[in-house]
């Protein structure tokens, strides 16, 4: 009997082993919810701010300022009727040469969908602002006609327009701003000039401290690089052409014609300012051209007496507009670093002053105009330094591998400045990142990855409001 019991137990154990060893553990691939979020196209001409911006309204057409927005499902009016939910607003500014698709091209929609779906961020409208395409951008700065009046636009009329136009946005909900590269500067500039508008700022490496940590680096170290780009360092390096011109001829006794009086004629090559090319594709040159048009423009050639004829897009309606009131013109009599051969566009013509001379040294009368727009100066000029950003949460994504335009150095310098500006240290978060071998983070190659942290940061800030 005992033997049969043992055999039975043995067989039962075998059977149990078989069952355990054969069960299906199921699939590890889960169905992901479908997102009904959309991409919103926002076109508005912001005519007062941008009417004379270079390249805009060319041909007398009022060209819309095109923006794209990520609209979460909650912000879309329900099909069955009713009102959409109110959502907070995040404004993202593209870097140099980036358009309104820039962040979408780095996966913004898919990332936002994923984060909203998994609950990592709250639904929010994310509006992407393009940088200028002609020279790559004007630092989202200036109160000058050629660059556009971004100072009034980004933190002012833009937000007013959005709140007035879109029912899912309201001034009772917080607004965040962020940017990449030049857009990082634009985000901080807008926050400094529009105190209390933005509750959070995110930034990747960008031109955040023009003269660097020691007052002699940052963009200053790039002056000669910009000239080298165009082969203009040291001014004109080509030797002058010199020839003797005969002024008087005589015939000698051997009946040969000889010159008895001559003059040395020297033909000097064009100066470096004449050779400076505003039509090229050099990134550094374009960076300084864009900045010069924002910070040190020269618009003496603008026809202020005339009018331009503006035709509304898609209609036959036309309006006559005064070009630039004298009160808004920038005229500098100093021509040392004046670049006059800018691309001419119809009757508009804007020159600009570069902040450096032919040797790559700063030309202080102009460079000081740039420094007046340095964030450090802007924050310190306030009667209560740092008060413009008090209560504003800030997030930085910075990489030691970032190479372009000393952006990394400038970013760290700006962070250091903020930390010494009587701000609450908990307001500032810094994420350091590096790429992987073979694909270093020399520019914004990893924006897709750090944008995740940016969005989560803003969402948490919105929740705390």
């Amino acid at each position: 009997m005992l033997r049969y019991m043992n055999c039975l137990l043995f067989i039962l154990a075998l059977t149990l082993g078989l069952v355990v060893g054969c069960t299906d553990r199921g699939t590890n691939v889960t169905d992901e919810p479908v997102s009904n979020a959309g991409i919103l196209t926002i076109g508005h001409d912001f005519y007062d701010e941008l009417k004379l911006q270079i390249g805009r309204n060319v041909g007398g057409q009022r060209v819309l300022f095109q923006m794209r927005g990520y609209s979460p499902e909650e912000a879309i009016p329900p099909i069955q009727g009713g009102q959409p939910k109110l959502v907070p607003l995040l404004i993202l500014l593209a870097p140099q040469d980036g358009d309104e698709w820039y962040f979408f091209n780095h996966g913004l929609k898919q990332l936002a969908d994923e984060l909203v779906t998994e609950g990592s961020i709250q639904p929010m409208e994310i509006l992407c602002i393009p940088n200028d395409r002609v020279f790559g951008g004007y630092f989202y700065a200036g109160h000058s006609a050629p660059a556009g009046y971004y100072d009034y636009f980004i933190g002012g009329s833009l937000i007013d327009y959005l709140h007035d136009t879109y029912p899912f946005l309201t001034d009772s909900l917080p607004v965040g701003i962020g940017g990449a590269g030049m857009g990082s500067y634009g985000a901080f500039r807008a926050a400094l000039m529009h105190k209390g508008v933005f509750t959070s700022i995110s930034a990747t490496d960008g031109p955040l401290d023009f003269d660097g940590p020691d007052g002699n680096s940052g963009l200053m170290e790039l002056f000669d690089d910009a000239l080298i780009e165009q082969g203009l360092l040291g001014g004109t390096t080509d030797p002058p052409d010199s020839t003797w011109q005969c002024d008087s001829l005589e015939v000698d006794p051997l009946e040969d014609t000889i010159c008895v009086e001559s003059t040395l004629v020297i033909n000097y090559p064009p100066s470096w300012t004449e050779n400076f090319d505003s039509a090229g594709v050099w990134h550094l040159s374009r960076l300084f051209i864009g900045g010069a048009l924002a910070f040190s423009p020269h618009d003496t050639l603008v026809d202020t007496t005339g009018v331009i004829r503006i035709k509304f897009q898609g209609t036959d309606h036309e309006e006559l507009q005064v070009v630039i009131p004298d009160s808004q013109r920038f005229v500098l009599s100093d021509s040392t670093t004046l670049i006059t051969n800018i691309i001419k566009l119809n009757q508009f013509n804007f020159d600009f002053h570069l902040p450096f001379d032919s040797t790559g040294n700063p030309y202080w009368p102009i460079w000081s105009m740039w420094l007046n727009n340095n964030l450090e100066k802007m924050i310190l000029n306030d009667p209560s330094p740092g008060s413009q950003l008090r209560g504003v949460k800030m997030w930085f994504g910075t990489s030691p591998e970032f190479e372009f335009a000393n952006y990394r150095q400038q970013t760290l310098s700006w962070i250091d400045c903020l930390r010494h500006s009587a701000l609450d240290q908990s307001q500032i978060q810094v994420k350091e990142y590096t790429g992987y071998p073979g694909n270093p983070a020399t520019n914004n190659q990893y924006l897709y990855d750090i944008m995740r942290d940016m969005l989560i940061f803003h969402s948490k800030c919105f929740e705390q409001q």
Binding site: A13, G17, V20, T27, V29, G107, G435, P437, N439
Partner: protein, 496 residues
């Protein structure tokens, strides 16, 4: 009887307490319920048709003609929590951070053979058998393209698959050279190899060399996803030999040798390249080389799937091995056996696929030299294994003329002792412990058996090196691995 019980308890205790492992690499764990029930410790006791696998010399002691077969049902129950991130931090689309199982599949491994005693060269026993000395079959679904890469791309579910079979058709001959004491056996094999090998590869985006605009090859467009599928077969030869020495009535000693020759596997291949999908990026791009239809730039942002078909050839270097064994008949009911085997896994060096006769490419994928070079590149899956040993201990206990109980354990050294090339294609996480148990019933001329086997493997954590992210790194798959194998073997043997 007391000695028998003591021996049985001793063997069981040794088996249970042993640490280590069963079949390493892609070697089959063995065939036949009697042998498998004794954990493969069968070289010195082999006397049925499965001796063709364990020790051909055992045929010489088969008293009857035999016809037998068995079916092994194998279930690989592995788990993987991937950590497949470039530089250890950047998402790739692999299902990182969650537990993934290999695709549920109970693999059947049939084998069969017969023995006849013929009056040739004295009295020689011949046998013909078919079995799988090498087998591996695993499939994983571990990847889905990041939405920001290509939201609409559908990658096959059998994206990581290694179905490798080597079937041996073996003619065996054995005879006694010293009657009742020494026998020799030789098996000549015709080997048939079948291989289905799928993999996901992340190739460096060639636009990086074509354009200075980083936007078109920035994360997550920095790598192009390739699904590579190879399906082929080939033939080869092998040799196995053994000797069995009956030292006395209780003790047997045995030695074996297996030499499989390399197999050339050829067949057809399909590679699907899933292009990043970013229409606004190429449509609005400043450069005509990116913006215009039919350019490489447009192709690599189009979201299309580029398919390349080709013929392939690769060499499967299956490892030779040597083994020794002893068996001790403690009494007329209890037999204890101990075997050791050493397999030269360093001979196997993975797969180098050479592709020829490409077809299926069109447009710029075909006409552009750089694109065509990218799509038609040969692929290599190197493996750097070391030789490995295995020890098996088994007992059989004849309860009665009707019932035989079997038990055994094995310790198996892993050939993959460094994790630097570890992938889900060969899950060999370390030294393994095998526990086997089963029974056979004897009904007249029939022997029917069932054995179940559990193979425990240690957990393995494969770290991503700091440099992880370069194209050649697709041979490494970082993550946390857990592995276990369950196997059930059913058999019959008819004596006539």
């Amino acid at each position: 009887m007391g000695f028998a019980r003591f021996s049985a308890i001793l063997v069981a205790a040794v088996t249970m307490l042993s640490s280590g492992v069963s079949a390493s690499g892609f070697e089959n764990s063995g065939i036949g319920t009697r042998a498998r029930g004794m954990a493969g410790a069968f070289r010195a006791t082999a006397s049925d048709w499965t001796a063709a696998y364990y020790n051909p010399a055992g045929y010489a002691y088969a008293d009857d003609n035999q016809l037998g077969g068995n079916m092994a049902l194998v279930h690989l129950r592995h788990e993987l929590i991937p950590n497949y991130r470039w530089g250890g931090q950047f998402e790739t689309g692999v299902f990182n951070g969650r537990t993934d199982y290999n695709t549920h599949d109970i693999v059947s491994l049939p084998s069969a053979g017969f023995i006849v005693r013929l009056p040739v060269w004295g009295e020689t026993v011949f046998g013909l058998s078919a079995y799988q000395p090498f087998d591996y079959n695993i499939t994983w679904q571990l990847y889905k393209p990041l939405k920001a890469y290509n939201e609409g791309a559908t990658v096959p579910v059998n994206q990581y698959q290694n179905n490798l079979d080597v079937v041996a058709f073996q003619l065996t001959a054995a005879r006694e050279f010293v009657e009742g004491q020494l026998s020799l056996g030789v098996g000549l094999q015709v080997l048939r190899g079948d291989l289905v090998f799928n993999n996901i590869l992340f190739r460096d985006n060639p636009l990086k060399d074509e354009s200075t605009d980083p936007a078109i090859w920035s994360r997550p467009l920095d790598k192009i996803t390739e699904f590579n599928h190879n399906d082929g077969d080939g033939w080869g030869f092998g040799l196995t030999a053994g000797t069995l020495w009956k030292v006395n009535e209780k003790l047997n000693l045995a030695a074996t040798l297996r030499i499989p020759f390399d197999l050339t596997i050829s067949g057809s291949s399909t590679s699907k390249f899933y292009m990043p999908n970013d229409s606004t990026l190429w449509y609005n791009h400043d450069s005509a080389a990116v913006r215009n239809e039919g350019t490489i730039g447009q192709l690599f942002l189009s979201g299309n799937t580029v398919t390349d078909h080709a013929d392939f050839e690769t060499v499967l270097k299956v490892p030779p091995s040597i083994g020794v064994g002893l068996s001790f008949a403690a009494n007329e009911k209890l037999t204890i056996a101990l075997d050791a085997e050493y397999t030269f896994w360093s001979h196997f060096d993975g797969f180098d696929f050479t592709y020829t006769n490409h077809y299926g490419l069109s447009g710029s994928a075909d006409t552009s030299v750089s694109a065509r070079s990218f799509f038609t590149a040969d692929l290599s899956y190197p493996v750097d294994w070391e030789n490995a040993g295995k020890v098996m201990l088994g007992v059989s206990y004849d309860c009665s003329d009707f019932l035989t109980l079997l038990a055994g354990g094995s310790l198996d050294q892993s050939p993959a002792r460094e994790a630097k090339q570890f992938t889900p294609m060969f899950v060999d996480t370390g030294d393994k412990l095998g526990l086997n148990t089963g029974f056979m019933v004897h009904i007249q001329r029939w022997d029917l058996g069932i054995v179940t086997s559990y193979l425990h493997q240690p957990d393995l954590s494969v770290e991503a090196p700091n440099t992880f992210g370069q194209e050649e790194d697709f041979v490494l798959f970082p993550g946390d691995y857990k592995a276990a194998t369950y196997e059930t073997i059913l058999s019959f043997n008819y004596r006539f």
